[in-house]
Symmetry: C2
Subunit: 254 residues, 2 copies
């Protein structure tokens, strides 16, 4: 009745692993499997070679192979079932929400991003900002307000507050690169972010900036991002044109 697609594919011969390089073996393997899935070499429903055999064929231990597979399971591309094996999930694949800025998102989708910088100034933290950034109320912070455009069409109005140490960021940096790129170039690596996604009506000013009707629906996102050491490095309040931007989330039950 049901097409079970029991084909255990040989999955090419990706034996060329870089054993001495800095890239972990499990990562090399997971990348190749993911690529094979996305390219269609491993079609939806097909079974992956079992962990032990795959390990022997690649000259890797089972934990390493297992970790590689787990990476892809966490992305929602594979499903493992005890006693059965590991299968490629059905359904078309979509990109997962990741810790990226809008700038990265746009370049990934081959649109040309640009920035209209509205405000770049020092501000003392009010109660809300202080709480979100975990700094004392009244501390100096850097306030940024920008309009983001994709192919010269306005997509989002973005407000950001950064802690004291980033005071000194130049307007030219923000116009040429995304905020996250600027932060990375200053040695900051974002590690955890908490986002809140909602909706509301646009103000008249926002309508004008985004070139939409007054009282339109806006998609909003608040985000606080933390670096390696758990310190808050960015707090942002963004609003997006819902006809041009939306969020994709892939959830995997464990």
């Amino acid at each position: 009745m049901s097409a079970k697609e029991e084909n255990t594919l040989p999955m090419g011969m990706f034996m060329d692993l870089e054993r001495s390089g800095p890239i972990p073996l499990y990562f090399q393997v997971s990348q190749r499997i993911e690529k094979a899935i996305l390219s269609g070499e491993l079609p939806a429903g097909s079974r992956l070679e079992n962990e032990v055999a795959l390990g022997q064929r690649l000259g890797l231990s089972r934990p390493t192979v297992r970790r590689a597979i787990q990476e892809i399971v966490d992305k929602g591309l594979l499903v493992r079932r005890r006693g059965i094996g590991t299968q490629v999930v059905h359904g078309q694949v979509t990109r997962k929400v990741e810790l990226t800025s809008l700038y990265d998102d746009l370049t990934n989708t081959h649109k040309v991003p640009s920035t209209h910088l509205l405000t770049l100034e020092n501000r003392v933290a009010d109660a809300k900002t202080a709480e979100r950034l975990s700094v004392a109320e009244g501390s100096p912070t850097l306030y940024i307000r920008r309009v983001r455009l994709a192919d010269n069409v306005p997509v989002a109005v973005m407000e950001n507050w950064l802690p004291e140490e980033f005071i000194g960021i130049e307007p030219s940096d923000l116009v040429a690169h995304g905020l996250y790129q600027v932060l990375r170039s200053r040695g900051v690596t974002m590690r955890v972010a908490r986002q809140h996604i909602g909706a509301r009506k646009s103000t008249n000013e926002e309508s004008a900036l985004l070139e939409i009707e007054k009282n339109s629906a806006l998609l909003t996102m608040d985000r606080t991002a933390f670096d390696n050491s758990g310190r808050a490095v960015e707090f942002g309040q963004h609003c997006y044109r819902p006809d041009l931007y939306s969020f994709e989330v892939t959830l995997v039950e464990k």
Copy 2:
């Protein structure tokens, strides 16, 4: 200059592990650590005992302890740094987006959910539905349209399409329980879901159902859910009152 909070807490003595029970050891450990963080026993910024020592103290191997810690890192509550140790992240903790229905969300926040069933009927799949559910166009499907209320205030209008095998679900099931509860009781376990979150204006009918002004902003979410075997079991188009509902997402960079 920076308060480094170097306290390596003893973290109580949770030596009472159930070694013969069905609950994995790593899960028991991760649960207790998570509880200690949420309860404030392990304050933000404090360092966790190192993996080797923790393993010795609990009588566990390092991989087991490591996996327990990794679970919490994936939830965004801990950050590990090589050469340094593992620390509790700063910032208040929020609940993560999980694979749950609105019904579950509401009961978890101690509100009283109820349902107003608008439509429950068989429909043949149109092109969009067929593609999302991976069935043939024209196949029979079950169509459900409901208004969800929390404490008797309307929160969302939800449309769902289910594949043929679920035809037979009774109105009484849907009024008494959430859709996901009904599916679980029929032996279906959701495993992967792809969500699309956006915004738009409300129609007049939706405004009336949700008891809001005409042309209000709505938060929308489309979802396709897949079960263990990767088969699509639900496709839904929902819209929420943005003043009563929003999405929280915690992202962790790996």
